[in-house]
């Protein structure tokens, strides 16, 4: 019977034991002795405790003592050393046996091997922790290192690494390898992704697992001497598995190394499968996070560049989400909670009623809105905003507006400036061109007309004489024809200057253009008693631009100079027009007058609208002239002379590829010029 019982006890899968009430063990079954390699003799009393894992021993002894003191049945876990030195987890269940008086007589117990369950639990816990790290936004390196450590715990004796494939898909990048020597890692990083450079590169390249069970006899990757390098680091086995994205793209390789030849078991394979999957989640997540960060940065930059901010407004609760750029536009401190009340404080008082109406209407009808709004900033400057918002119901059926706000202040201001230029130009055309130029034109036409009439009268008289003076008549008739052409030339020049409609970019000979303008204004200059000296440079390269616009500038400068010298009687009214090559492949035109000049600090005011130092003068053309020259990539400036008068110059590049903004200037200039033309035709 005793033998029978012993056979049963030893046949039970697990350890069976009994102990005295004080915990000293008096029986252990044969399985326990076989497992630990400790004899029953040595294990009796508290000798068995030597088999407990040293890390868990203090905790175990606490649990053991509490159990003995409680006298109640209990369970706890502990690791026991196997005869070969490895440890396994056991569940220890103890039950007290009491006599009829209720006194504790003996402890009976059973230890069950729960190691597989414990390992699975640990892996599961580790996996959960890794996924939490991924979700929590830990850096990829931190996640992958934790992953390697977890795998190394699970597969004892292994060294784990993760390499990544770079964005171009051609080279290996470092992922994580907490237990491998740095020199080993650095010799792998940067290797090309192909079948030759090593097992990880090969696995990534082929997108299939590469097992090198014994590196001492391995013949692959010779051209990159990979095996000698690994062996030099004490590694003799390597199993590399590709890490693939859900879309099937290879992201990297997961590798286990051993310091002795080894082939993966099915346990290893399931471990590898599980963790390459987690690695792929971590890598994909990191990559998409990087993409998101980049696209957020793009968006922020785009908002900044376009002066556009975005917002979301929940109509029911007035919750407002406000983009960084909007904080800048509204000049709110970043991060301050934005409320309608806060926004309202910035709205321009004149626009406030409209704004409140917009809000009320949006709240009630939920329609899309688009409107212009002015802000009055704390420094009393005004900003112009263009607001567009789209109303929609969210999942809870609440009305929510998502909108964009663009700061259009600069556009508004430049439109205003444009209007100013437009009116200025109209003024120039009327006052300067018509006033001064028509007199000049009349003179230019009257002069040949006078010749024609005089010659025709002479001719008639010569023919009527007795005998007729035919030779003289022929000569005067020829002069009549010549004067007729002369009058016609004036008209041709005028038409060239005024009848053009579209801006053109052509090669302009600045000397010839200047001569034409001088020809048209010649009599006006004479009448103003201007002594004109022209110093037109030889071999001047042509400039690229709009001839008519440039001539308008020269005309303005010329008439201004004549005007500035109107009251000068104590010195010659000398005007020098000079053209010359300027630095940097440019051509410069200079007009130096001996007029009333201007105060040095008044230079900037000269170019302001309607500023003039002269009574009834034509200073109005200067700002327009400047805008024309600037549209030719040039510069127009004025300096007071050392002596009396002022010098106006402009300098424009030769062969500028395109006259930027010429269309704008033309758009402004056309109506004014057309107006001149009409008026001239009418007269």
């Amino acid at each position: 019977m005793e033998n029978e019982l012993t056979r049963v006890v030893n046949a039970i899968p697990g350890f069976v034991w009994s102990a005295a009430p004080d915990g000293s063990v008096d029986f252990l079954n044969q399985r326990w002795c076989d497992y630990t390699g400790v004899s029953l003799e040595d294990a009796r009393g508290s000798g068995w405790q030597t088999a407990i894992h040293p890390d868990g021993a203090p905790r175990f002894l606490d649990d053991w003592r509490s159990l003995l003191e409680s006298g109640e049945a209990g369970q706890f876990e502990a690791r026991f050393r196997r005869f070969d030195g490895t440890f396994r987890w056991f569940l220890i269940s103890a039950v007290p046996l009491r006599d009829e008086a209720g006194d504790l007589v003996r402890w009976y117990g059973q230890n069950t091997d729960i190691d597989d369950r414990k390992r699975a639990e640990a892996l599961l816990a580790g996996e959960k922790r890794l996924l939490e790290m991924v979700a929590g936004g830990c850096s990829l390196t931190v996640v992958l290192e934790a992953l390697c450590e977890l795998v190394e715990d699970a597969a004892s004796g292994s060294y784990c690494s993760v390499v990544l494939v770079d964005p171009s898909g051609t080279r290996l990048e470092h992922g994580a390898a907490p237990s491998l020597p740095v020199s080993f890692i650095t010799s792998i990083i940067g290797r090309p992704v192909n079948v030759e450079s090593g097992p990880c590169a090969m696995a990534a390249y082929l997108n299939e697992q590469v097992i090198a069970a014994d590196l001492t006899i391995e013949t692959r990757w010779e051209s990159y001497t990979w095996c000698p390098m690994a062996l030099a680091h004490g590694l003799q086995a390597c199993w590399s598995t590709p890490i693939s994205s859900t879309a099937g793209k290879v992201l990297g390789a997961f590798a286990l190394y051993y310091d002795e030849p080894q082939r993966p078991t099915s346990v290893h394979q399931s471990l590898i499968e599980q963790f390459t999957h987690i690695a792929s989640i971590a890598i994909e997540r990191a990559q998409s996070h990087a993409r998101l960060t980049r696209s957020e940065a793009f968006l922020a930059e785009a908002q900044h560049l376009s002066s556009t901010g975005s917002f979301a407004w929940r109509a029911a609760t007035d919750e407002i989400a406000w983009s960084e750029q909007l904080y800048r536009i509204f000049e709110f401190d970043q991060g301050v909670p934005v409320t309608l009340e806060l926004i309202g404080r910035r709205v321009h008082p004149e626009d406030a009623p409209m704004w409140h109406e917009m809000i009320d209407r949006a709240r009630s009808d939920g329609r899309d809105v688009e409107y212009e709004l002015r802000l009055q900033m704390p420094d009393h400057s005004v900003k112009y905003l263009h607001v567009v918002a789209h109303g929609a119901r969210n999942q809870d059926g609440q009305l929510e507006y998502i909108g964009a706000v663009q700061d259009v202040t600069e556009r508004r201001l430049s439109e205003a400036a444009l209007d100013k230029v437009r009116s200025e130009l109209a003024h120039v055309a009327r006052v300067a061109s018509l006033g001064a130029l028509t007199a000049s034109i009349a003179h230019e036409v009257n002069q040949p007309l006078s010749g024609i009439i005089t010659n025709a009268s002479t001719c008639l008289r010569m023919l009527a004489a007795d005998p007729p003076n035919v030779a003289g008549a022929r000569q005067t008739a020829q002069r009549t024809i010549r004067d007729g052409h002369r009058a016609s030339d004036v008209i041709v020049r005028l038409r060239a200057l005024f009848s053009k409609k579209d801006a053109t970019t052509e090669a302009v000979d600045l000397n010839e253009s200047t001569r034409e303008v001088i020809a048209l204004t010649w009599s006006e200059l004479q009448r103003s008693r201007v002594v004109l000296r022209t110093e037109l440079g030889d071999n001047l390269p042509p400039v690229t631009g709009d001839r008519v616009q440039l001539q308008q500038v020269i005309l303005n400068l010329l008439l201004n100079a004549a005007e500035a010298m109107r009251g000068v009687d104590d010195r010659p009214r000398q005007l020098v027009i000079r053209t010359e090559r300027d630095e940097g492949d440019r051509v410069r035109l200079t007009l130096q007058d001996a007029g009333v000049g201007f105060e040095p600090h008044g230079v900037d005011r000269l170019f302001e609208a309607f500023y003039t130092t002269k009574r009834g003068g034509m200073g109005i053309g200067l700002s327009v002239s400047r805008s024309i020259i600037e549209s030719h990539h040039g510069r127009l400036w004025a300096v007071p002379n050392d002596g009396p008068g002022a010098t106006f110059s402009f300098s424009i590049p030769c062969g500028a590829p395109d006259v930027m903004g010429a269309h704008n200037v033309r758009a402004i200039a056309t109506p004014a010029v057309t107006e001149v033309e009409h008026v001239m035709r009418d007269e």
Partner: protein, 123 residues
Amino acid sequence: MDPDSLVSVVDDDESVRESLPDLLRELGFAAQAFSSAEEFLASDYVGQTRCLILDIVMPGMSGPDLQLELTCRRQPIPIVFITAHGDEAVRSRVLERGAVECLFKPFSETALLDAVQTALRVS
């Protein structure tokens, strides 16, 4: 042709200098042309000139300048001004200063003849 009735033309415009003396000769006057006031003053014809046909706007000395200069020199030659600028203000100013006439270019033969004859009568 009466050499005593010399009509001098001062104008910087070449076509006037070419055409006007011819017409004046056809009308029976002796005529001389000068391209500037300075050239006229420097010539030997100042004393002989009985009528001066004078452009108003010229480089250098203008027509009215010459008028003033002749008054100062006590050589009051009757002057017929001609101008291509239809400027009434200038016209009345030179007439105030004693000019016989001020013709706006282009002018007719009749207007010219009337003015020159008036000038010669004054002279």
